[in-house]
Subunit: 315 residues, 2 copies
């Protein structure tokens, strides 16, 4: 077994047209009935979206999501992370199953953008599968989104974004949201609105995420069911925090926590029913080298405090 993640990445043959599957495990068998069943997910809230001439994630409607490998080394880094993480004996099974998308290898898929040049995709569990009316939020965790050994221009670019957003001040930033309110009305802020969020704005979005009203008001009616109670967001985040207090295997720079719940079902299912808390986006994960991920942990604790304040304020 290759114990250090960096060594695993180094050991991988470089991707090339002749060698598109650079990973150790065989690609997953497709579950989609046909390639034509693949479609851009309706409920994506952050990252590149698939369109006629752009690569983006695709879902098969049968529980899988296909995420195109990113350009540069990022695609390989993310694939190598999933490979290392999914087989690492020191990751508690409960942590892997509860907080990370299931990984099913990689798969070459034809793309509309470049006919005749299939592109490698990560095959992952579709985290929103089975939710009838998904309310989703993507929260990028950490005051610092650049791994310490990054090249200078990348550090400068990330630092400007971290200082220009709430990352430095709050230890996290909201990267996207989609909230299903009363009568199925959907609120989905555009990227400029998301990027302009300050501390008060983040607090508003976190309240609106658990509100049943469709307008700008926030009644936080779903806070007890979604954020509170057994199996709710808070209890899941606290379980994740306990792991981050001791895990020294990986540092999750620029990763996000994806929150999801079914707006239709959550009231019926009661506290915690159907609430999902998952880590996503691992293109900048690096070796922990025996040190805890204090950057992720600090941001996670800050997010927990914001959410617990909302639960405490809700009768």
């Amino acid at each position: 077994m290759i114990s250090r993640f960096a060594d695993l990445v180094k050991s991988l043959p470089r991707r090339s047209p002749a060698n598109p599957f650079f990973l150790l495990r065989p690609p997953a068998a497709p579950r989609a009935r046909a390639m034509s069943d693949l479609r851009a997910p309706e409920h994506q809230v952050a990252g590149h979206r698939a369109s006629f001439n752009k690569l983006g994630p695709l879902v098969d409607g049968a529980g899988l999501l296909y995420k195109p490998l990113q350009a540069g080394d990022r695609g390989e880094q993310e694939a190598a992370f999933y490979e290392a993480f999914s087989s690492h004996p020191a990751i508690p099974r409960r942590i892997r199953d509860a907080f990370f998308p299931g990984f099913h290898g990689t798969r070459l898929l034809p793309t509309a953008a470049r006919p005749g040049e299939p592109h490698p995709h990560l095959v992952l569990d579709d985290l929103l599968a089975g939710l009838e009316a998904p309310s989703v939020m993507d929260v990028k965790i950490g005051a610092c989104t650049w791994p310490p050994a990054s090249p200078e221009p990348y550090v400068a670019k990330c630092l400007a974004k971290d200082r220009g957003s709430t990352s430095v001040v709050l230890g996290f930033r909201v990267s996207g949201a989609r909230v299903v309110g009363a009568g199925g009305a959907v609120w989905r802020p555009e990227r400029p609105e998301i990027k302009a969020l300050d501390t008060a704005g983040v607090r508003r979005v976190l309240r609106r995420y658990v509100s049943s009203v469709a307008d700008e008001g926030a009644d936080c009616a779903l806070a007890p069911a979604v954020y509170g109670g057994e199996g709710g967001v808070l209890s899941q985040l606290r379980e994740l925090k306990a792991w981050f207090e001791v895990q020294t295997l990986f540092h999750f720079y620029s990763a996000s926590i994806l929150l999801g719940y079914d707006a239709n079902a959550v009231a019926a299912a009661g506290p915690g029913g159907g609430v999902r808390v998952k880590l996503v986006d691992f293109a900048h994960v690096v070796d922990g080298d025996g040190v805890i991920d204090h950057n992720f942990l600090g941001g996670l604790c800050s997010l927990i405090k914001f959410i617990s304040d909302i639960v405490d304020e809700t009768p």
Copy 2:
């Protein structure tokens, strides 16, 4: 009451020769029998040292330390912090008493450096008073040592130091140490050695801090008594952590945790005997504005993990 720390700082009259006591409370009565009793502390491990022509902290041998106000706004900032903190009704008394130096106002003292121009000093508890053979370590907490609203040159200077030291990687850096080993032999690394510490070096210093041997070896013989047990460093740091998980009043940029114990007494007193864990250096503290200090908290959790690893490894 002025509730926001920033408002308190703004409300203070500027310091001037005509108005050297800008604080709200009257200066403390001197406890030293005479000014000539004041001397530079023997056991200082970080910061400027007092000498014939340099300002530095002085102790009176009766339990008080006089810290000269720093240049620029820093001195006022630190004094304003002590003023705000020592009277803030939302600070639990146990936290203030256990983890912060007692504050006794400010006092003008003549200085050798500038005869005829007395300089204002903070009057604080001498944290090492009563220790016969003090082993001391200063650990600057936080991956980021610059408050978000700092001017660009200051950000650039701090960021270079944070990246050049272990701060970014570990969430803390050792700023100084003094360890009394067998037979009273003192190990006190010079600043260049301290500044060059990498992750492995920090681990070595943390082990050596609780070792009874005088040479470079580290037997960690005192780890159970100093780091472990009831009242030991770990249990105190965990109590501090619990407060940082909820406190949103102050962000402690560039503050340090000072560890101290009496090498002569610690074996006799048993686990936790005489072990001190205090926060110091508050020139860059800013308002928390309702957000936890995720930067300090993350670094604190990282330090806790390093120390708990040493306790776990010690039989």
